[in-house]
């Protein structure tokens, strides 16, 4: 206190002066007694604070710059000091905070926790912490962590507790965001039918999501801390080593991608296929985590197998069809030549006639085999019409019974309804008969054969796997109580020439006919078989709501004739045989190697009565085009077409209705009948 302070005052009262004097004395006394801990010196350039005790300035600077709230409290929670950050957490100024209790800013439940934190019973040396929620003056709630430690003061001083308050708002928000992301990921994985797993390579622990546990079948074996082995144990015993090797390899290669089978008791086959994909993540250049997903791909693999089977059958069918076509021509040449030769041999030459008969029987058997090949390759003529399978079954049950023999009983349960499917009844009979004979052979010691019908509907997804159209199908189920088949055998039963029967007992074409016929009818076949449990074969034929109309059967008469026939065929051998056969029937002939040449002949000559052409010929104009041209431009000329297979030619560009179709190989009698019918038709249209 300086003298001028008093001089500046305007006539200070005595009382005032006394008061100032008393204050000055008290100040001096206090300083003398050590009741102050800092002295403020007023310099002209500013004030200086001289701390008499601990020079705590650097620490204060640090504390003031902290992003955490720092506060010293009395044992009752009264704020002795706080940094700006702490006051800001509560939305207050520091000046208003000091001297106030923090309790009103706490939730009731948290107040107890804080009381414990401040309690003198707490271990003074150890740090204590609690997560509480602070209520700001603006009403917002701030989650914070309070960590407390006692400030050691000299004896006799009140307790002071130092507390650091860390704002958890951002951390909480991040953990919420993380949780939300995790949830989205889980939902996405669930929708994809996948589960996730995460291997900590440093700790050797595995985290497996609930979905992944389900897919791997782990939930059945009880959960808990997972070791690295928990990922390989669900797999089939003999595949576990490979699975472990794949995981180990992935640590160095960085990628994991395999499909293996896990045990699955709930499933009939005892296992499920799973697809495991993963990636390795590095920390400081060292593999730290192997993370990935797992999905059940059993259904997909099943579909792939079915599709592969369908594709294989398609390819084999194409090949077989090509062979059958050439084979037909060969049979045609042999059979036709035999016909011609036979007529040249005297009827009293019994030995020669016997050989002719044997040779012709061989041709017939060849033709019959060829017919089955064509059936398999779906290139036979199908007379599709609405068929009630149940009626058909009852119609030839006697024949079936005879084929099955006495030791096998036949059961034909009545279906709920008489469904109609679109099919060729004769081929369907053959197919069922083929299945029945196979079933009989699978039951050497007798058994039971059940044939029943049902109706089923295929979804687009199921249809895709069967390479069929979605829709309704009439199922003809043929079930035996026989020996059953291994999966390997079951996969091949429709392959042409595949047979498990002894040499000479079967052609290996029976089931191929079944397959080809059903496919050509627009249906599909499914096989269920297990060794010792019998076999069930389902023929699924397109359902129709049309009702059968009895088709009139006409028998063509055999006749000889006369006139001039233009024979068109690119195969010179076939052509020669045809010419010979026609000659034997009394016709004169003119030959052409293809359709263009045939048109030239027609244009040049007017004495052609019949055009007899092969359907399939090289060049731009095939037999059907030739037939249409002839019918349009030469109404008086009859047309007969011959083909090894014609089914595939039917469609929007089929043969004209009054054109006769002859199937190779044909007999002389069939040729004569076709020519006679064609000529009648052509003449009739004049």
């Amino acid at each position: 206190m300086r003298a001028e302070d008093y001089i500046d005052d305007d006539l200070p009262s005595r009382e005032h002066l006394e008061e100032r004097l008393r204050e000055a004395e008290e100040t001096l006394d206090a300083i003398r007694r050590g009741e102050v801990d800092a002295v403020v010196v007023h310099h002209p350039e500013g004030e200086r604070v001289y701390t008499l005790e601990s020079a705590d300035r650097p620490y204060r600077v640090l504390v003031e710059h902290m992003q955490e709230g720092a506060v010293t409290l009395t044992g009752e929670g009264v704020v002795l000091y706080c940094n700006r950050r702490f006051a800001a957490l509560l939305g207050l100024t520091r000046e208003s905070m000091i001297g106030r209790s923090v309790v009103p800013y706490l939730e009731r439940a948290d107040a107890l926790m804080v009381a414990e934190l401040l309690s003198p019973d707490a271990d003074a040396d150890a740090g204590r912490a609690a997560e509480v929620t602070l209520h700001r003056t603006d009403g917002r709630a701030i989650p914070v962590t309070l960590s407390a430690v006692d400030l050691p003061f000299e004896p006799g001083m009140p307790r002071v507790i130092c507390i650091i308050a860390t704002d958890l708002t951002h951390a909480r928000q991040r953990s919420h965001e993380l949780a939300a992301t995790n949830e989205q990921l889980a939902v996405a994985l669930d929708a994809a039918g996948m589960g996730s797993w995460d291997i900590d390579l440093e700790q050797g622990t595995v985290t497996i999501s609930r979905q992944a546990e389900g897919i791997l079948g782990l939930d059945e074996e009880g959960s808990g801390i997972r070791s690295l082995n928990s990922l390989s144990l669900p797999f089939l015993a003999h595949e576990q080593a490979e699975v472990r090797a794949a995981f180990e390899l992935a640590v160095s290669t960085g990628v994991l991608d395999f499909e293996r089978r896990v045990r699955h008791s709930a499933d009939g086959i005892g296992y499920r296929w799973v697809h495991v994909i993963g990636r390795t993540y590095h920390r400081d250049g060292v593999p730290a985590r192997l993370v990935g997903v797992v999905g059940d791909v059993t259904e997909r693999r099943l579909m792939e197998t079915q599709l592969r089977q369908a594709q294989k059958m398609e390819a084999v069918g194409q090949l077989t069809g090509g062979i059958a076509h050439d084979f037909n021509n060969l049979l045609m040449v042999i059979g036709g030549s035999l016909d011609v030769l036979e007529s040249a041999v005297p009827t009293n030459n019994a030995k020669a006639q016997r050989f002719f008969a044997a040779a012709k029987s061989g041709v017939e058997r060849g033709a019959s085999l060829n017919q089955q090949l064509l059936a398999f390759s779906r290139r036979q003529d199908l007379q599709a019409q609405p068929v009630c399978v149940d009626d058909l079954l009852r119609g030839f049950a006697t024949l079936l019974g005879r084929a099955l023999g006495e030791t096998v009983s036949l059961e034909l349960p009545r279906p709920a309804q008489r469904w109609y499917c679109r099919s060729d009844p004769h081929q369907l009979e053959t197919a069922i008969l083929n299945l029945a004979i196979n079933a009989r052979d699978a039951m050497p010691h007798g058994g039971r054969l059940t044939i029943m019908t049902a109706l089923t509907t295929l979804t687009p997804r199921e249809a895709l796997a069967m390479a069929a159209e979605a829709g309704s199908y009439v199922v003809v189920r043929v079930r035996d109580s026989g020996t059953g088949m291994t999966p390997e055998t079951a996969a091949r039963i429709f392959d042409p020439f595949f047979t498990t029967k002894a040499m000479g007992k079967g052609t290996g074409l029976g089931l191929s006919q079944v397959y080809g016929f059903v496919r050509q009818s627009g249906g599909f076949v499914s096989v269920t078989s297990e060794v010792g449990q019998g076999t069930t074969i389902d023929l699924c034929l397109p359902y129709t709501d049309e009702v059968a109309v009895a088709a009139p059967v006409t028998q063509a008469p055999t006749a000889t004739g006369d006139g001039r026939v233009l024979v068109v065929d690119d195969d010179i051998n076939v052509r020669e045989v045809s010419v010979a056969m026609l000659g034997a029937l009394g016709y004169s002939t003119v030959e052409a190697g293809d359709a263009v040449e045939a048109l030239g002949v027609l244009a040049a000559r007017e004495d052609i009565d019949v055009v007899f052409s092969d359907v399939i010929m090289p060049g731009e104009i095939n037999g059907l085009d030739l037939a249409r041209h002839v019918r349009e431009n030469y109404p008086g000329v009859a047309v007969v077409l011959a083909s090894g297979y014609t089914a595939q030619q039917h469609g929007d560009k089929g043969a004209p209705s009054d054109v006769e179709l002859l199937h190779k190989p044909y007999s002389r009698a069939a040729l004569a009948a076709a020519l006679a019918r064609a000529r009648t038709g052509a003449t009739g249209s004049l």
Partner: protein, 110 residues
């Protein structure tokens, strides 16, 4: 300081409203003790009718000039007038009460 403080509507409307400033130096022991002591005294004697500003002279050294603070802790009674400074850690309650005009100063001596 001639203007009178705004009237605080309360049950103690007849009693004067106190405006106090406590000059301290952070968390030093006497400053701490002064805060504690003052708080207790205010709660017991000035419940609801005081406004306390605790000023850290480290933070705002310039504030000491106006009120002629020479040492901390120092409590200043700004209102009601007359302005009065009480130096020390305020552990002598009677002295503080006397300084705040809450108890006759002479009773201490008598």
């Amino acid at each position: 300081m001639t203007s009178s403080p705004p009237e605080i509507p309360s049950s103690a409307a007849a009693l004067p409203h106190y405006k106090l400033r406590l000059f301290i130096t952070g968390s030093t022991p006497r400053s701490t003790r002064a805060i504690e002591n003052l708080r207790k005294i205010c709660e017991e004697n000035l419940d609801g009718r005081y406004e306390l500003e605790v000023i850290d002279v480290y933070e705002r050294p310039e504030t000491t000039r106006e009120l002629q603070i020479v040492a901390t802790p120092t409590l200043v009674k700004v209102l009601p007038e007359p302005l009065r400074r009480i130096i020390g850690d305020l552990s002598d309650e009677l002295k503080v009460l006397a300084g705040l005009d809450l108890a006759p100063r002479h009773s201490q001596q008598g």
